[in-house]
């Protein structure tokens, strides 16, 4: 999908990851970084690994009373939203946030691990397990936990804390929800259905219940901290990462009217979902690449949010190299920050905008990645979900 009715500018970026916080900080930290030095915790959730969040002073972006009402996945999104609004010069600007459209990609379902563990312990010795649930949950659960479980309550907290209230919608569906969120905001702004939007998501990877969900499908890399390409030689698999990314997207007209400068512009997006066979996946990826009108003679640099899961990562790399050649510079940013699931695709868009806005690109994150000969004028962002769904977008220099 491409549209030229309204240019869609990226005018604000808010990031949180294992590297810390802030857009400029991430550019400085990542532009010359090597995956060997990426923060990874291989102990806490072993045999799985995780890119952990450093200590964050949440109160820098939200009142303490609101912070207490949230679980970390919601704090992540609310915090990164504040950073993005600040970066765009919109934070606490009432006429901006009260008309701003909020588009969130989120999971949810936070559990109370201690209550769950009590129930599992009790259930070892009893056959009337349904009754245990009825006995324990009404007494042990704190009443507001539900509000940390509903997927749309990241958006709800962002509205409360940052007063973003033009409209609000939340997408679900793991990595594809991030693709849908960006696509929705892009399409609405391009077509004049929205003038400015706050879009993004966050993922708290450091939860055993979420590791459990991923382990059910055997999607995790075990006993390794190898980056994406190298990991393929070891059987592949995913290393999740805690993080969040929010972007301020804005029509060029709206940005110019308030004198805001863009990092870059979003110029196209394609997405699909279907059977995960090699043939069908290749066809979908090739169709998406052709829909984005990338000029083959001016090969873009590529930021991939590859999960590291074996087949799909190889098929994605094959499709990208098949289109742009073996020397195309591909950076798998998931080697550095892990897979922040819902926030994966927005994170790629943010890293692309940062590179374009700084007239540069990232050094290879691992030896298998090819160096970029010149600073790119266009970057292709590609995310293939660990289980289903694929998305791509083109980000270009705004001037």
């Amino acid at each position: 999908m491409t549209d030229t009715r309204q240019e869609v500018w990226i005018t604000g970026i808010g990031l949180l990851s294992c590297y810390g916080e802030g857009a400029a900080h991430h550019w400085e930290a990542l532009k010359g970084a090597d995956a060997a030095s990426a923060p990874i915790d291989t102990e806490t959730f072993k045999p799985a690994a995780v890119h952990p969040l450093p200590e964050i002073d949440w109160t820098a972006q939200m009142p303490r009373k609101d912070m207490r009402q949230m679980e970390n996945w919601q704090r992540l999104g609310t915090y990164a939203s504040g950073l993005a609004l600040e970066d765009a010069g919109m934070k606490e600007v009432e006429e901006m946030v009260s008309t701003m459209d909020l588009v969130v990609c989120a999971g949810g379902g936070e559990r109370d691990l201690s209550v769950d563990t009590q129930i599992l312990a009790e259930a070892r010795n009893r056959n009337d397990r349904d009754r245990i649930i009825n006995e324990k949950l009404p007494v042990e659960l704190r009443p507001t936990l539900f509000l940390a479980q509903l997927s749309n309550l990241m958006a709800g907290n962002i509205s409360i804390v940052h007063k973003v209230t033009g409209s609000s919608r939340t997408y679900m569906g793991e990595e594809t929800s991030g693709v849908t969120a960006i696509r929705d905001a892009y399409a609405r702004i391009a077509h004049g259905q929205s003038t400015h939007a706050l879009v993004g998501g966050g993922y708290n990877a450091e939860r055993p219940d979420l590791f459990l969900n991923l382990e059910l499908g055997k999607y995790l890399a075990n006993n390794t901290r190898a980056p994406i390409q190298e990991r393929q030689q070891q059987g592949g698999g995913m290393i999740p990462g805690s993080g969040a990314c929010f972007l301020v997207l804005e029509s060029a007209e709206h940005a110019r009217a308030r004198g805001a400068k863009p990092y870059a512009k979003l110029t196209g997006i394609a997405s699909d979902l279907g059977e995960r066979s090699q043939q069908a996946t290749r066809e979908r990826l090739e169709t998406m690449l052709s829909q984005l009108h990338s000029d083959k003679d001016h090969s873009p640099a590529i930021l991939s949010g590859a999960s590291g899961c074996q087949d799909i990562t190889a098929w994605e790399m094959d499709a990208l190299r098949g289109r742009f050649g073996m020397e195309v510079p591909i950076r798998c940013y998931t080697s550095m920050i892990g897979n922040p699931i819902e926030a994966n695709f927005p994170f790629g868009i943010a890293l692309a905008a940062l590179a374009l806005g700084n007239n540069g690109f990232y050094e290879p994150f691992e030896p298998a990645e090819k160096p970029a000969k010149i600073a790119p004028a266009a970057i292709l962002v590609s995310t293939a979900g660990h289980f289903r769904g694929e998305g791509m977008a083109t980000v270009e220099k705004a001037s």
Binding site: L145, G156, N157, R188
Partner: protein, 425 residues
């Protein structure tokens, strides 16, 4: 595009050509409409699981589907598949090759206790807790359980079954989700991305834990001894909502797309309005400002004035706060005329179908216009003097209805209002 196919803002007119519905009242439009207009309640004592110890143990469960597994995702998929099939058949797209995207209002899906206990059984040697479950998960393949806990799975499956195009969309705006799914289909057609969209909403999440969670927020009625009389929107003695299951599906098309293929037009989706509330996680702003704005936005988007609305399908949850706030907000927009416009709450009979509510109530709104019959608000035997509305008390009413406002509000400050019309012109 010829002006006969565009609205007051030059956008494609969007019409409905197929509808499907499942609620506790039954399966399909016919069963539901008969029960709804007869003033029947679908609320009953929960029998799906033991309810000892629960504060509320009545609900609008859907127990007549045959899900592959009795779980929230299992029941939600079974209902969604049925309503999508009904809508597509009516619209004439019954060949598994729908020419547009899927917008699915998805229920909260997560691992349920039956799954945790099953994993526990696989690894009884280990100490109780998540490490025990994780070890079990790693030891054996659990592909089905993995699919079940993916938030996008129901939409993926619907998309595969009915051949919708592109990446299927799963969305949530809590109890406004059903309206949001319709809104997003409307937006996509207005952008010219597609001539048709399939909008589905489903919620089969009545579990013990689900009831407990809402009870802990003091949101549910506790009138367990009188299930049919427990949902009492706009009554003085209303004391909470009923958790219910249901699903609805609507096929949306641009008018041009529908006319070109000779489809029967069931009604027009005239406009949508939204405004988020930053007041509180579960409560609306006391001044109703966001809801007022959402209604005004919907009317403006539809190119209509409040005077042209001749029936309101209320959110009407039967909680003390919602019904009062909804009345005050409507009065602010409609003025004194609000006391003459018929307004009823389907939730008096089907309870609150949560994620599905906005879509279920959209289907009932279109049926209201087509059948010239307004379903009643039942259990209205103790009117709240502070809410002097014409709630179509207890008995259906024959009336010509040309335009409907349908309200949906959700936790997290979600407000979405839809405006429907019976006829194109």
């Amino acid at each position: 595009m010829s002006s006969q196919y565009t609205d007051h803002k030059g956008r494609p007119i969007v019409v409905v050509t197929g509808m499907g519905v499942v609620t506790s009242l039954g399966r399909g439009k016919k069963e539901n409409w008969e029960a709804l207009t007869a003033g029947k309640s679908g609320i009953r004592k929960v029998t799906r699981f033991p309810t000892e110890g629960l504060n509320t143990y009545i609900a609008g469960t859907v127990d007549f589907m045959e899900p592959e597994e009795v779980s929230a995702p299992g029941i939600s998929y079974a209902m969604a598949s049925a309503t999508a099939g009904e809508a597509l058949e009516q619209a004439g797209f019954a060949d598994g090759d729908f020419p547009g995207p899927l917008f699915f209002a998805a229920p909260p899906v997560e691992m349920e206790w039956q799954h945790r206990f099953a994993l526990m059984e696989e690894n009884m040697a280990a100490e109780a807790g998540y490490d025990q479950l994780r070890e079990a998960a790693r030891s054996n393949p659990h592909d089905d359980m993995h699919k079940l806990v993916q938030l996008g799975t129901i939409a993926y499956r619907l998309s595969e079954k009915y051949g919708t195009k592109g990446l299927p969309i799963s969305l949530s705006t809590a109890c406004a989700s059903g309206a949001t799914a319709i809104q997003q289909g409307l937006e996509a057609i207005r952008r010219g991305e597609t001539g048709a969209a399939l909008c589905v909403a489903s919620d089969g999440s009545v579990t013990a834990e689900g009831l407990i969670r809402f009870s802990l927020l003091s949101a549910l009625t506790t009138r367990n001894d009188d299930p049919a009389g427990a949902s009492r929107p706009f009554s003085k003695d209303r004391d909470g909502f009923i958790m219910s299951e249901g699903s609805a599906a609507l096929v949306l098309e641009s008018l041009e797309h529908a006319v070109n293929r000779g489809a029967t037009i069931l009604g027009v989706l005239r406009g949508v309005g939204e405004k988020a509330d930053s007041f509180h996680r579960t409560r609306s702003s006391p001044d109703g400002a966001p809801v007022i704005k959402a209604i005004e936005n919907a009317l403006a988007d539809a190119g209509m004035s409040a005077d042209e609305i001749d029936y309101i399908n209320a959110h009407g949850t039967s909680t003390p706060e919602n019904d009062r706030m909804e009345y005050n907000s409507l009065r602010a927009v409609f003025g004194e005329r609000i006391h003459e416009v018929p307004i009823s709450s389907n939730k008096s009979m089907i309870g609150h179908t949560l994620t599905a509510g906005g879509a279920v109530e959209a289907v009932f709104s279109f049926l209201t216009m087509r059948e010239s019959t307004i379903p009643p608000t039942i259990n209205y035997d103790n009117p709240d003097p502070d809410i002097p509305l014409d709630v179509v008390p207890n008995v259906k009413r024959e009336a010509s209805v040309n335009a409907v406002l349908s309200n949906s509000f959700g936790f997290g400050g979600q407000n979405a209002c839809l405006v429907f019309a019976r006829d194109v012109a």
